[in-house]
């Protein structure tokens, strides 16, 4: 029955078990623990064993009852002690030694007899007893049947215990309710009541509900930054189909060429064709694509960009119609042939009747503009770098740069008086040694050239360009390699030469006089410097932001300058506006060789080594608030390239909207409107 009871509460908290034990403490056998059970069994067994040993001793009750006292106390008494009834037990009469010896000698069994001093009697040992004694003497177990080496039977059930149970009696604490436990129980009860301890609830599913409500009007965006929706993935085209048209499939060769491409340029997706639905395999990059999309969504900066769906026509600036800006040179009207080398420079006579040209073949020619007839030829023997007509109508002379010399030629035009004046001017009477500029006289000399009947100005370096002052008396020459004396200004009437009284910065390329005022422009490779000659001061520095300036021209009004560069860029400077270019036009793919303004029409032109010349409309308004209007008008073609050079020089006709161009193909062309 105990067992049955113990089986019942199989899994109860130890706490509860204690309680149970406590409640049923009356019958503590009811404890279910194996441990306790074993203990119980053990104790009963041991008690039995004790009983057994007692009974074996008490088989024959001792006659004497004195207990365990020294027998010496009864030495002198007549009795040895008392029996159960309390009567004295009398001592036996002592046999004398002889008798006893004789008796022992007679009696063969005498050796078995032992005198029991306590009871005062002789006891005869039985055979079994002697055997026992003998075994004891040998140190063996008294009973022969006893097997000291019997196989060990472990009667203890070592269920969970480490040690066999002790024999100790049940402690008291097992029988009284635990104080601490009851305290804990109270604590738990309170915690449960307060809701501190929650029992496992059934897990609820994520609840879904009508998140947006029925009305779609409640669109109150949070006060947050503008949400930029992620761009939708690109929709698939025909080529992504499982069964695309055959023309969408790249050929094997094309696929092979993909391997040669850079990885970024390689097409991400190579179309494939499957003839039936069942043969489509799983797409191997599905997860990767999805992952990359995820990364794009949360790692890529999103910027709202306006989709440029603009008509490219609308990008073009609104310009006035070209028809309204006529007249301007459009077609090639005349060609002047005769030179045998590239024509390096041309110059138009101020009246517009004649044109002079200098060529690489060492000749200077003068042509009639309207007929194309060559009037005069000077053989100078060396390549002619630059020619320039004197701007005065009544002084028909021509400045020509040949190598390091500048020749001032008398063209022989004009009436007699003009000829006389010119001849007079071109005579060097006495070589006046300029006293104030010694260094100049050492590097430059005014000589009379007998052969051509002209003045020869011998410079110390090659002269690249010559420019006349508007009054026709002064003449500036540029020697790019001349360092501090690169730019010289010569006075024809006094046969005087002076150095530009400014420090030079960079390599000078060209120089121009202002058309109305005493201002001088010097173009170096990077910048254009503007000097006031009267006050001898630097007025302005125009920063071209070009790599290499090749040419410069000044607007007849004097406030606007154009600069051409060797990278094909043309800069328009409005000097009133700023020292930075008002407009930079990248028009030519090759070097710009020269630029020119028309004297009366609002036209300017640039010519380049790419065998073209551009004509622009460049209107400058008197109103300072209005910016100049620049309209490209025409591209003039016709020259052919030779030695990598195209059109080398261009000049406008002084009266008509005509343009002369000198080409490396040894021809000069006239473009008319």
């Amino acid at each position: 029955m105990n067992h049955q009871e113990s089986q019942r509460p199989e899994k109860v908290n130890p706490l509860e078990m204690r309680d149970l034990g406590f409640i049923e403490s009356g019958n503590n056998d009811g404890l279910d623990d194996n441990h306790d059970q074993d203990e119980l069994a053990d104790s009963s067994q041991s008690r039995q064993a004790v009983d057994e040993s007692d009974s074996s001793e008490d088989e024959v009750a001792p006659r004497n009852t004195i207990g365990d006292v020294p027998l010496e106390w009864y030495k002198d008494e007549k009795h040895i002690g008392y029996d159960i009834a309390g009567k004295k037990i009398k001592k036996k009469e002592r046999q004398d030694k002889l008798d006893s010896f004789l008796a022992s000698a007679d009696d063969s069994k005498n050796w078995r007899k032992i005198y029991d001093e306590y009871n005062d009697e002789e006891v005869e040992l039985t055979k079994e007893e002697t055997k026992l004694i003998r075994r004891l003497l040998k140190g063996k177990a008294p009973h022969a049947e006893f097997d000291p080496y019997a196989p060990y039977v472990d009667w203890f059930k070592w269920d969970d215990a480490k040690h066999p149970l002790s024999n100790a009696p049940e402690p008291k604490r097992r029988f009284i309710p635990s104080k601490w436990e009851s305290k804990k129980v109270v604590e738990y009860v309170r915690a449960i009541r307060k809701g501190l301890i929650k029992f496992d609830k059934p897990k609820e599913e994520p609840r879904l509900y009508l998140l947006w409500g029925d009305d779609s009007s409640s669109a109150d965006r949070t006060k947050h930054l503008a949400y930029i929706p992620p761009p939708k993935p690109k929709l698939p085209g025909h080529e992504e189909s499982y069964n695309p048209s055959l023309e969408y499939l790249p050929t094997q060769e094309e696929i092979n060429t993909y391997q040669l491409m850079y990885e970024e340029d390689r097409p991400k997706f190579i179309p494939k064709r499957f003839t039936s639905f069942r043969s489509i395999p799983a797409y191997e990059n599905a997860i990767k694509d999805s992952f990359e999309r995820c990364l794009d969504l949360y790692l890529c900066p999103r910027v709202r960009k306006k989709r440029i769906n603009i008509d490219p026509e609308s990008l073009k600036p609104k310009l006035p119609s070209r028809k309204d800006l006529r007249p301007y040179p459009v077609t090639c009207y005349l060609e002047y042939r005769g030179h045998e080398g590239a024509v390096l420079s041309i110059s138009v006579e101020p009246s517009g009747q004649w044109i002079a040209s200098g060529s690489k073949d060492g000749t200077v020619r003068i042509w009639e503009v309207e007929t194309g007839r060559c009037l005069r030829v000077w053989e100078l023997g060396e390549a002619v770098q630059h020619v320039a007509w004197n701007p005065l109508l009544e002084l028909p002379i021509l400045a020509v740069s040949v190598g390091s010399d500048v020749l001032i030629l008398n063209t022989g035009f004009g009436n007699e008086e003009q000829q006389r004046k010119a001849k007079e001017l071109l005579q060097i009477g006495t070589p006046t040694s300029s006293d104030d500029s010694d260094d100049i006289s050492s590097v430059l000399s005014w000589l009379q050239d007998e052969k051509h009947d002209c003045i020869r100005l011998r410079h110390f370096r090659t002269v690249s360009s010559i420019e006349w002052h508007r009054k026709g008396d002064y003449l500036s020459t540029v020697m790019p390699a001349g360092e501090s004396r690169a730019i010289l200004i010569h006075q024809l009437s006094k046969k005087l030469t002076q150095r530009l009284p400014f420090k030079h910065h960079g390599l000078p390329v060209s120089s121009v006089f202002h058309p109305t005022r005493s201002i001088f422009f010097v173009a170096t490779k990077k910048n254009v410097r503007v000097y006031d000659l009267l006050r001898q001061k630097l007025i302005k520095k125009l920063e071209t932001q070009l790599r290499e300036v090749s040419s410069i021209a000044v607007h007849p009004a004097g406030d606007n300058v154009i600069v051409g560069s060797k990278e094909g860029k043309l800069c328009w400077f409005d000097m009133d506006l700023s020292s930075k270019p008002y407009k930079t036009l990248k028009c030519h793919p090759k070097d710009i060789t020269n630029v020119a303004f028309h004297r009366s029409y609002p036209l300017f032109a640039s010519c380049s080594d790419d065998c073209t010349a551009y004509v622009f409309h460049g209107m400058v308004y008197a109103d300072l608030n209005q910016n100049p209007l620049i309209v490209p008008l025409e591209i003039l073609r016709g020259h052919t390239s030779s030695d990598g050079r195209g059109v080398i020089d261009c000049k406008f006709h002084p009266r008509q909207p005509w343009l002369f161009t000198a080409g490396a193909d040894s021809s000069i062309k006239l473009y008319c409107h």
């Binding site: 998140l211 669109a219 085209g237 055959l246 023309e247 003839t275 990008l315 073009k316 600036p317 490209p632």
Partner: protein, 599 residues
């Protein structure tokens, strides 16, 4: 004025981009969360880096707008994440102390978070949510196809949820006939639906064993998936609610076990939709008496004691009419595409996709297997979809076609002739419905034939009730009769106006042309000389010159733009040229092959 909120030492005041944008590490410091938590927050809140005009900290940083960071900072989700982090420490501690009991207990009570308010915040209106639904749908469809992997923390529950969400979404689309385009690509099947005016495109991978790659961080993907699942759940709820169907749907367990979820869902719709549609009608009729028809119906219902769950033929009629008014023309078109067709799917065809597509276009479909609505032996089957080299047993009463026929018909919106799609043949090319062939500049041959077929079909078919001319004219009268609803009348009126406009424009054009001819004549006579001069010059050269000259005056920015546009045009042109060349080559090869055969 009071004190400034935060003291800034003079000269150290942050302004402009430096104050407005923070780098990622700054943002993390500000929020006091770990990087992984920050990532999660960014994903859930939809916060993305922004590009400041000036990058104060350098080019190699990612920048977040400070307002974005504050937006995260003020969200309760952040606090929840911190709580979770602290709680995880507790669990770790319990485990380290070998207190498994406590660890288990703690694990079972771990705090969780809900995303509903985040969704509401990110998408204030339902349409906003629909607009961004492309990515969620694609992702959920992908995960519905993935295996559950412990190593990657992809749980079975998650996969099942994905599958359920997919099916629910598809069931809705199919039921309301909102599917518009289907395209079978190598990557999977692209579907495009139009819900509330939003075009939603998603990609469902083919039903194959997916290839798992190692170079993918599944943590990121699972975070996205978590948000997407929540979003899709709410979207589905809203959509089902709009149909008066209870959500989440309770499915027939037998069908569910047979993995015929979609069919089970449609059955569920059938059961729910009818009863739910009926209820409002009853209520409406009792309140207002304006519509006689409905009250009549009510009377009839009462008289005949129609059972509620099995409405009669009249019920059906009314229901259809009621739903018809809501639907737009495209939906009606789609609904009637496969009408009167019974389609049977063979064992080998992709069942899930076709079970979705065919009912979406009004067809009746069955398949081989348990739980199918009708068996293969059914006589009324008109088409059987087959994807095998040869078909053994053939019923003469039906046509055997390849699955591509369904998709091509759907995209063309006409029933295509089946000859080309017969069993064992190479089907004609499958073309993308997302491409505007005219804009692309190249029209594949099959697109041309489809166009012809469409034109032929249009002429064949009787004028549609909504589009016919007589209806257009009489719309006002009909309104008086109360036959069509107001919205439809407006639509019709609009259409009429449009047509008028077009006509007018055409007339104007004609007039203009007539005038132009005369004016040009006059001008030319006046400018005879000039034109002659012009003619002398090379026309092409002048055109090029004028092009150059106009480009000369553009600003550098515009010039670059023009150049880019031109390059793009050129690239497109090159692509088209390439296609044409390939086609020529293919044709030539075919011709030579034929000749060889003849010889």
């Amino acid at each position: 004025m009071g004190k400034p909120k935060h003291y800034q030492p003079p000269g150290k005041k942050k302004e402009g981009n430096a104050a407005r944008y923070v780098t990622r590490s700054q943002a993390i410091k500000l929020l006091q969360v770990s990087l992984s938590d920050f990532r999660k927050l960014c994903i859930h809140k939809g916060v993305f880096p922004r590009e400041p005009k000036k990058k104060v900290k350098g080019n190699h940083h990612t920048y977040y707008h400070l307002k974005d960071v504050m937006y995260i900072l003020h969200d309760p989700l952040l606090e929840k994440f911190r709580e979770i982090r602290a709680y995880k420490k507790k669990i770790k501690k319990a485990k380290a102390k070998k207190n498994d009991e406590l660890a288990r207990l703690l694990l079972s009570r771990a705090p969780s978070y809900k995303l509903d308010m985040v969704i509401r915040d990110r998408y204030p209106t339902f349409v906003d949510a629909l607009r961004d639904l492309d990515d969620p749908l694609t992702m959920v469809h992908l995960f519905a196809m993935l295996p559950a992997i412990d190593r990657l923390k992809i749980e079975v529950k998650c996969i099942h949820n994905c599958r359920r969400l997919c099916h629910e979404w598809q069931a809705y689309i199919s039921r309301t006939h909102k599917l518009r385009k289907v395209f079978v690509a190598v990557k999977g099947i692209y579907y495009q639906a139009e819900v509330e005016g939003q075009k939603i495109t998603w990609l469902a991978p083919h039903a194959r064993q997916q290839v798992l790659t190692d170079d993918v961080d599944f943590n990121v993907m699972l975070t996205f998936l978590e948000f997407y699942e929540a979003l899709l759940g709410f979207v589905n709820f809203q959509l089902y609610h709009s149909m008066n169907v209870k959500y989440p749907p309770i499915l027939d367990p037998r069908l569910e076990a047979l993995a015929a979820d979609l069919y089970a869902l449609s059955r569920y719709f059938d059961a729910n939709y009818k009863t739910s549609v009926q209820e409002p009608q009853v209520a409406g009729s009792s309140i207002s008496e304006q519509e006689q028809e409905e009250s009549n119906l009510r009377l009839a219902q009462l008289q005949r004691q129609l059972p509620a769950n099995e409405p009669g033929a009249l019920m059906h009629l009314v229901q259809d009419a009621a739903s018809e008014t809501e639907e737009d023309e495209a939906t009606r078109d789609c609904k009637n595409l496969f009408q009167n067709m019974k389609i049977f799917l063979s064992r080998e065809v992709p069942r899930e996709s076709l079970l979705f597509v065919i009912p979406a276009f009004g067809g009746i479909v069955s398949w081989e297997g348990d739980g199918a609505p009708f068996a293969e032996a059914d006589d009324s089957i008109t088409h059987q979809i087959v994807d095998r080299p040869t078909q053994g047993h053939v019923y003469l009463s039906r046509e055997y076609v390849q699955p591509q026929w369904i998709y091509d018909s759907v995209n063309a919106r006409i029933i295509l002739p089946t000859e080309a799609y017969m069993v064992g043949r190479d089907p004609p090319p499958h073309l993308s419905p997302f491409v505007d062939n005219e804009a692309e500049g190249y029209v594949p041959d099959y697109a041309k034939t489809i166009k012809e077929l469409q034109a032929a079909a249009k002429n064949d078919v009787q004028p549609f009730p909504g589009m016919g001319n007589d209806v257009l004219d009489n719309s006002q009268n009909m309104l008086a009769e109360g036959y069509i609803s107001r919205t439809e009348a407006m639509e019709a009126a609009e259409k009429k106006q449009k047509m008028m406009l077009l006509e007018k424009q055409y007339h104007d054009d004609l007039k203009m042309e007539l005038q132009d001819v005369s004016s040009i004549n006059k001008q030319s006579s006046a400018e005879d000389m000039e034109s002659k001069e012009e003619l002398l010059r090379d026309v092409q050269q002048s055109a090029m010159d004028s092009e150059d000259l106009s480009r000369l005056m553009m600003s550098r920015k515009k010039r670059g733009l023009a150049k880019a546009i031109e390059m793009n045009k050129q690239r497109k042109k090159d692509h088209v040229e390439k296609l044409k060349e390939r086609k020529r080559n293919i044709e030539a090869a075919q011709k030579s092959e034929k000749k060889h055969k003849k010889a």
